[in-house]
Amino acid sequence: MTTLIDTPKPAPPPARPRTSAGIEKWRRRVPLLPALIFTIAVTQLPFVATLAISTFQWNILQPGERHFTGLSNYAFVFTDERLRAAVLNTIVLTASVVLISVLLGLGLALLLDRRFAGRGLARTLLIAPFLVMPVASALLWKHAIYNPDYGLLNGTLNAVYRFFGAANGPTVDWVSSFPMPAVVLSLVWQWTPFMMLILLAGLQAQPHDVLEAAGVDGATPLETFRFITLPHLRRYIELGILLGTIYVVQTFDAVFTITQGGPGSETTNLPYEIYLTMFRKYEYGEAAAAGVVVVIGSIIIATFALRTIASLFREEASR
């Protein structure tokens, strides 16, 4: 996968006497080898195994029936309705979480780029959602916030209704009525601080004199943002979107915890569907094929991600 993009050429090694060149090369390589071998063993071998398993008809409930079946698992992956629904859910979930959290993160980053009273504290409080253990935050949303009887949402609604003299607010079962938005909201809450941090880093890297010059030239704040800040931030926004996509596509904790993929399969995304295929249907071959398809999808996203990161690399090298 290293050939996905053109990587910047490394600087030519300094000229050395011919005899010691080989030794020097190996002396440079040795510190690298343990990590490289370990990574290949633990990450690449399982993938090769997944490829192999994906060509087998293999259900653990029928032990005698394991046999080679060619690409039929892939045919199943692309025609199965549940899986197609899972692909669609994955796209909806990932796209909405990433886009909303990038927009909110951008707004917050713009605010936190300026000095104001208690900025340090505000920043610390803002990153808390990202630090809370994902399973814990999923449970928190499911029970402490969405719960129809004693959740914070309905509780607040009740309080508002009573304040205006009504008896009680409506009792909404948020997770059952709006399963996908419920999952999306909890993930947006979790990922906005991540986007905010990346974009804030981008804003702080912006040279102040350019902004000042724009002010002197009579640019309005909106113009300054549109023509100076936004182009400068583009790379950081791209990076945020791409990293966010790579992480959010893999969402498992929130779906597993908040909705268990339901109601029906309305919130079943690909990782959760693969999990079900593996540990509920015990169809190992199908699960492996679906896994390979996810990997191919991720590689497509990753290609774009690598381009973005490589351009940041070039920037660093040219400094």
Binding site: T7, P10, A35, L126, I145, F279, G291
Partner: protein, 294 residues
């Protein structure tokens, strides 16, 4: 020790370059926008604050509607949790996270050295190979890993998690450590070499002081990711090796739900990461973006 003096000046110049003194030029937020900023901040923090508050309540006070803000506070939920069931899970989490973080450092520091200070040929290719492993969704590896682990009898074993978490965090650590080591100015290294300092001396005297904050930040980030990991933990462990996130799964069902106890448990397992994250927030962003952004 003439090289010490020379090296010292270079370090000073290097530090000055890293922290340009233009903080005074930062623009101020107007009062109205300050209000908006704080409103947004509090909106995002509210669920966490709510979790903290509820965790100090009795169950009866936690499950009222509308919620009772002024109910008496108590530590009962925490003593209940720590007294009985959560401790083994916390110990497993700590073992898996700390040991894997140490292993990651052991592997990543030499690697980063070989990729930045004395780079091997095609070092960018190696970097992108490490990164590409992060793009493989973990779910695609779960099946073969599960089968292999089952075959060698390592299911429900905390050392299985140690190995997996090490592999999971190693690419991040390599990228981060490289970006920190790349900041060690060449002048210092060359000055050291010209003065005839041997490699261990250069590493210990020159590289280590500059890289130490980076090593600390890398450790924290690896610790956070391992501590929070759920999918491998829930599928590869059963009773003996389960970690804190798996403990929380017991709270999924609605029947017999104890909200205050759930909040206390959620607080308890999130606390180490919250503290670590608050302590290293400026380094966090670099870790999360794999060192690509500073």
């Amino acid at each position: 020790m003439s090289d010490q003096g020379a090296t010292g000046t270079v370090i000073q110049r290097f530090r000055a370059r890293r922290h340009p003194a233009d903080h005074g030029k930062e623009l101020r937020l107007s009062p109205m926008w300050t209000f908006v900023a704080w409103l947004a901040t509090l909106a995002f923090f509210a669920p966490v604050a709510w979790m903290a508050l509820t965790s100090f309540h009795q169950e009866a006070d936690a499950a009222t509607n509308p919620p009772s803000l002024l109910a008496p506070l108590t530590l009962d939920q925490y003593s209940l949790l720590l007294g009985r069931d959560v401790t083994p899970f916390l110990i497993n989490s700590a073992t898996a996270s700390i040991v894997s973080t140490l292993l990651v450092l052991l592997l990543a520091v030499p690697t980063a050295y070989a990729l930045s200070i004395k780079p091997v040929e095609k070092w960018t290719d190696v970097m992108f190979f490490f990164l590409s492993t992060k793009f493989l969704p973990a779910i695609a590896a779960l099946l073969p890993v599960y089968l292999i682990v089952k075959d060698i009898g390592m299911l429900d074993n905390v050392w299985t998690l140690v190995v997996l978490y090490t592999a999971m965090n190693l690419p991040i650590a390599v990228w981060l450590m490289r970006s920190f080591l790349a900041e060690v100015p060449r002048e210092i290294l060359e000055a050291g070499e010209v003065d005839g300092a041997r490699l261990p001396t250069v590493l210990l005297r020159v590289v280590a002081p500059v890289a130490m904050p980076g090593i600390a930040a890398t450790s924290l980030i690896c610790f956070i990711f391992s501590w929070n990991e759920f999918m491998f933990a829930v599928n590869l462990t059963a009773t003996r090796a389960s970690t804190a996130p798996v403990f929380l799964v017991g709270f999924i069902t609605n029947e017999g739900l104890f909200l205050a106890r759930l909040c206390a448990a959620a607080m308890l397992v999130s606390l180490p990461v919250l503290i670590a994250g608050f302590a290293a927030q400026d380094k966090l962003v670099r870790g999360l973006s794999l060192g690509a952004v500073k």
